[in-house]
């Protein structure tokens, strides 16, 4: 278990919407995480907490997210707000062209009326259609599974937007102002959730996960390639579904209670 994983995964184990984590809770979770690390005895040396800037992303890691739909609160959009703030996404009061890297989707089961709500963002597929169709290679997948757009070689053809099954990509329809240095945006190029790669590379977790951990605690981030990580253990214990699993894209984002 890495320091990062500990940080991320503890961050997602909050105690309900609006609840603050107690010192006791923190210690308990830390101990559990440490136990997970030490029990198999093989993960003492794992990827470093923060990846040095000159070091390539490791293929031994696959960053992923688990969404616990049963905890995701109706009417709560903390993750959406945090994402927009973190990445400098501003509304122009034009909903059809405004960027939304993450959005809350409400589902009503037509058969019985059961309603649930969940966030949908780039699913960081292992076999991303957006990467397949991109003519220039601007859409790419890092060795650690994070799917990104190279803004320098994106020509704005939007073929990736046609190909993405999750409607996760946005086209920048206007001049961008107030950009964040860690999240460059450019008029005429395509963008989507980066899994807050700038935070992840520094040992942190995505802004949405952090925000959710202070409330519902429905989001968990970690290394899904490591069977001993908390996220993998959670998935192994309770199971998880993928959106459009029939497409066989092996998404990095999984949903519990979907």
């Amino acid at each position: 278990m890495t320091d990062k994983a500990v940080q991320s995964e503890t961050g997602t184990s909050g105690e309900g919407c609006g609840g603050a984590m107690s010192r006791r809770g923190f210690l308990g979770i830390s101990a559990a995480a440490t136990a997970i690390t030490l029990a198999p005895g093989v993960t003492l040396i794992s990827p470093a907490a923060a990846k040095p800037a000159d070091q390539a992303a490791s293929p031994k890691v696959r960053w992923g997210m688990l969404v616990d739909v049963t905890k995701c609160a109706d009417g709560c959009d903390d993750c959406v707000v945090a994402c927009a703030k973190e990445n400098g996404l501003k509304s122009h009061n034009r909903p059809e062209t405004d960027a939304q890297w993450i959005r809350k989707v409400t589902l009503i089961d037509k058969a019985n009326g059961f309603t649930k709500t969940l966030p949908v963002m780039c699913q960081h597929c292992a076999h991303p259609p957006c990467v397949d169709v991109c003519p220039t290679g601007a859409s790419f997948k890092r060795p650690d599974g994070i799917v990104l757009v190279d803004k320098h070689i994106c020509i704005g053809c939007r073929y990736c937007m046609m190909a993405c099954p999750y409607k996760a990509r946005n086209f920048v329809h206007e001049d961008t102002r107030g950009q964040k240095p860690h999240a460059p945006r450019g008029k005429g190029t395509v963008e989507s959730c980066t899994l807050c790669v700038h935070r992840v590379d520094e040992g942190g977790s995505p802004a949405c996960v952090e925000a959710c951990s202070k409330g519902s605690g429905a989001l968990m981030f970690g290394d899904i390639a490591d069977p001993n990580s908390a996220i993998s253990q959670e998935i192994a214990k309770y199971g998880a579904a993928r959106i459009r699993a029939d497409l066989g894209l092996d998404t990095g984002v999984a949903y519990r209670g979907l």
Binding site: T106, P165, H173
Partner: protein
């Protein structure tokens, strides 16, 4: 009996020639102005958005690219399938195909989010992308059809015409397969993700390209005062009939296949019954105007021999083709992605909703400018190269003709136009 049908230039000094040049030039300038407007402000000033990401420019661009391949029909039939009667028209067929492709690609490039990065598209390739393959297919088409024209027009090279024609024929099949596959390979979209889209686009290209060819012949020969005989018209009519019938067959199979699969009932219901403008454009535009009525015109005893009816039919096929592209491209995006089958879905990002699109003037002008680019290229090239047969009269196009020889003579005086 071997007749020589001279290919001649047009003089290109008449007021009519300059008038057309000014007309097409003005439309092209308007198209460039539209691009500047869209690129300067960003695409929010268009009808396109995060739901409908490809709009009116793509309707025109894909139509022109598909038609480009089809415009090569006449040349292919002459060189590959040995129908010598088409030989004198083959150079115009090749020129029109190159010009239409140039027009379509120009629109496609000018609508990019970053058209200034065209050089990036030419230097960075992802070979798994059908778009990247198409960049090769398109540039290869220019080169191959260009060489093919050279073989046809240069007497010394005539013996290579058949080989060049065969390569061009195979290439254009690959090219339209590539264009159809842009949609066919999109696994997530309900309206696409169908292997039949590639052959369907090929047969559509045959029809659209021939229809444009028929009208270009008509207007250029009327304008030049050169005769067109019934024989050429009837041959083209026969071809167009076959292509239209085949196109309707493919459209029927595509929809029947979808209708058989329950998961596609939603999108079929949308396109065929409840899609508003898309349903109207499908039934009235694509099927009636673009298929049934032209077929009736070309088969009914009262009109089947009429050249005016043929031209009306050709014009209707073009209108139907643009409607088809609108239904395929915009309609395919208007129907929402199905992320959660069986669920009623809603969000602030228009999940689960039929997406709306209202094309703006700028987009339409940019699209139409692609047609102007194609036509202005033809207008200029026929001035400088001997492309147009001196006559399409029946006397020159005798059905008993064995082997007409293209003979671009230097001593032939260009006709005044």
């Amino acid at each position: 009996m071997t007749k020589k049908i001279a290919l001649t230039q047009v003089e290109g000094r008449s007021s009519g020639w300059y008038g057309l040049l000014v007309l097409f030039g003005t439309v092209i300038l308007a198209g460039l102005g539209s691009t500047w407007y869209m690129e300067h402000n960003g695409h929010w000033v268009t009808g396109m958005n995060n739901q409908i990401v490809w709009g009116m420019p793509h309707v025109f661009a894909v139509f022109l690219i598909v038609a480009a391949s089809g415009a090569l029909n006449v040349a292919s039939i002459s060189s590959v399938f040995g129908r010598n009667v088409y030989k004198p028209l083959a150079p115009l067929s090749a020129l029109l195909s190159i010009s239409l492709l140039a027009g379509g690609l120009a629109v496609l490039v000018l609508d990019l989010g970053r058209p200034d990065r065209l050089i990036v598209a030419m230097t960075h390739y992802n070979f798994k992308s059908i778009f990247a393959w198409n960049i090769y297919l398109y540039t290869g088409f220019f080169v191959i059809v260009g060489v093919y024209m050279w073989m046809m027009l240069e007497k010394k090279m005539n013996r290579h015409t058949k080989t060049a024609g065969l390569v061009a024929f195979l290439w254009r099949l690959a090219l339209t397969t590539g264009t159809g596959s842009i949609f066919g390979f999109l696994v997530a979209r309900q309206a696409y993700d169908a292997a039949i889209m590639a052959p369907m686009f090929i047969i559509m290209s045959f029809a659209y390209g021939l229809a444009i060819f028929i009208l270009v012949i008509k207007f250029s020969y009327t304008w030049l005062g050169r005769p067109i005989g019934a024989y050429v018209c009837l041959r083209q009519r026969n071809l167009l009939r076959v292509f239209l019938a085949a196109m309707l067959y493919f459209v029927a199979v595509y929809h029947l296949t979808n209708l058989y699969a329950t998961e596609h009932h939603g999108v079929e219901r949308f396109i065929l019954l409840e899609g508003g403008i898309f349903t109207a454009l499908f039934w009235i535009g694509q099927i009636m105007i673009g298929g049934i009525i032209p077929l009736v015109l070309m088969f009914h005893p009262a009109t089947s021999e009429s050249r005016i009816a043929l031209r009306i039919a050709a014009f209707m096929v073009i209108i139907g083709g643009i409607c088809q592209m609108y239904v395929t491209i915009i309609g395919g995006q208007a129907y929402p992605l199905v992320l959660f089958p069986g669920m009623e879905v809603s969000s602030s990002f228009f999940d689960g909703q039929i997406n709306s699109y209202t094309p703006t003037l700028a987009e339409i002008v940019l699209g139409v400018s692609g047609i102007a680019i194609a036509l202005v290229l033809v207008l200029i090239v026929v001035k400088f190269l001997k492309i147009l047969p001196a006559s399409l009269a029946d006397s020159a196009f005798d059905p008993n003709y064995v082997e007409p020889v293209i003979h671009p003579t230097d001593d032939e005086a260009p006709e005044t136009a």
